[in-house]
């Protein structure tokens, strides 16, 4: 049986990769994909903890997080498409009308 710490290590690596992606990527789609990676890291951690506690609550929580992620995709892609239609770019550095 794989120990819980291994799952947590993998989940930590996924989360860190997602965080690095959010901070360094300049395309809205890539930033958004990185956020999804962070959500899946959280899902993996939830499942691993649910197994170590022998408690199904964590597993049901994963389904809710997956649903939330799907809703987020729907709204996020709609916003990104709306912006792309007007500007032909989704580079976040080009969005600099508001500052100060």
């Amino acid at each position: 049986m794989v120990p819980t710490t291994s799952y947590l290590a993998l989940s930590g690596i996924l989360f860190a990769l997602g965080m690095i992606g959010v901070l360094t990527r300049r395309t809205a789609i890539m930033v958004f994909l990185s956020v999804e990676l962070m959500l899946n890291a959280a899902n993996l951690a939830l499942v691993a903890f649910a197994r170590s506690w022998g408690d199904p609550t964590g597993q049901t929580a994963v389904f809710i997080v997956m649903t939330l992620a799907a809703a987020e995709v729907a709204i996020g892609l709609a916003i990104i498409v709306a912006i792309f239609r007007k500007r032909e770019t989704t580079n976040v550095d080009d969005l600099a009308a508001l500052k100060g």
């Binding site: 890291a41 170590s52 964590g58 929580a61 987020e72 709204i75 990104i80």
Partner: protein, 482 residues
Amino acid sequence: MLQPPDVSLTPLLPVLIVLAGAVSSTLLGFWVSRRILTFINLGAVTLSALSLGLLWNRAASAFGGSLQADNAALLLAFVILTGTLMTLLVTLDTAWRARVSFPEFDAMLMYAVTGCLLIAFSGDLIVMLIGLEIMSLSGYVLATLQGSRRAEESGLKYFLLGAAGSAVLIYGIAFVYGATGSLNYAAIAEKTSVLNPENTAILVGGALLMLCGFAFKVALAPFHQWTPDVYGGAPTSVSLFLSTVVKVAAFAGMLRVFGGALENAPGWHSVLAVLIAATLIVGNLAALRQTNFKRMLAYSAVAHTGFLAMALLGTPQVGGAALTYYLLVYTLMTAAALAIVAALQRSEEGFSLLDMRGLYYRHPAYAVALAVCLASLAGLPPFAGFFGKYLVFQAAYQNGYAWISILAALTSVAALVYYLRPAMLLFMPDRTPAREYSLGQRTPTTLTVALGVVGVTALGLLPNIWYSWVANPAIWTLLVGR
């Protein structure tokens, strides 16, 4: 042996009424105009507020404790509904000028309020998360809905940073679950009261991740960068909604989680204190050098996040009362100030500070109202902002955070400068032609402004009108529910 599920819809009544408003806006939007929908929603919000009275002192709960309609939830819900009422009244006559006057706007707004109420009523991390996401996702749409370049930019920034914040929060929830084996507030509080050294590291990590996630949502520095862009770029009525109702709901979640479930968890107090110190400094100093009034109010909202979060450093008994008192006052004064901006602005960019010169000679009532709001935001004595600040300073001070109280007092002095400069400009004589929209003075907006100004003055002179409701420490000792 299977237990019958604990389904009881009575404690959910305020949420369900608002949800009914949202669903009816979605469906009826095909046939009737937005104006009628707004009136329906105003009715739904009022009914929901009345149903809070029905549940008062009943300490009802449902779904095995996942939903708590205790007095704390009802008081927070009252603040949320007050903010919603003010937003709806303002949109009644500014939405068409902002080009967001379609039924979807009302539907999204009411869905967001449903999520906000769910956070206040949560007794479980998952219910809180669902409420938070309903609120945030509707908020992203509201910020983008206008379809202008500014609104789209603000919407995308809000979405990307908000989604990252949610992901951090969910990761925090996973760790708190890992340390305690439960997602229920009461069970988490029970498990964390006796610390198991093996799990402490995971618990502290989870609490800090959740704190960062919430810091994104309420705009605590250094997670506040989206705030001025979103509040400044979105239509003013949307900024009003995001800076009052959404912020109140996020604070309701923080109070439930950190004042209730994780109260005994170590470590997060000192990190929160550092975040608050950064917020107070960054928010107040950045507001000093703004030239656009709407953007200045956005930074003022960041600075106020710092003041509001100070209440969380106090014990829940003192801090919960202080936070809820201040949240209502903050809602009233911010909503009234932004309502005036929404009514008088030429474009959705708001107006620059210099345009406010001599406003008193053109719109005397609005100018006086705006001066009252600014004085209250600055925390000057006859108005309620002063009492609110006093309560949160006291809450932090009593629990051993004297340095934060001193820092907050010092930054409030800096805040006086940026609040009183526009207030003085309002009364200076000016001969140049008016630069604001002259037809903006309409009854619904005036009602909102009157509600805000009268509320702020009345609560300042007689704080007990609201404080006597929130002051009972018994309300805040049972934040986790039973």
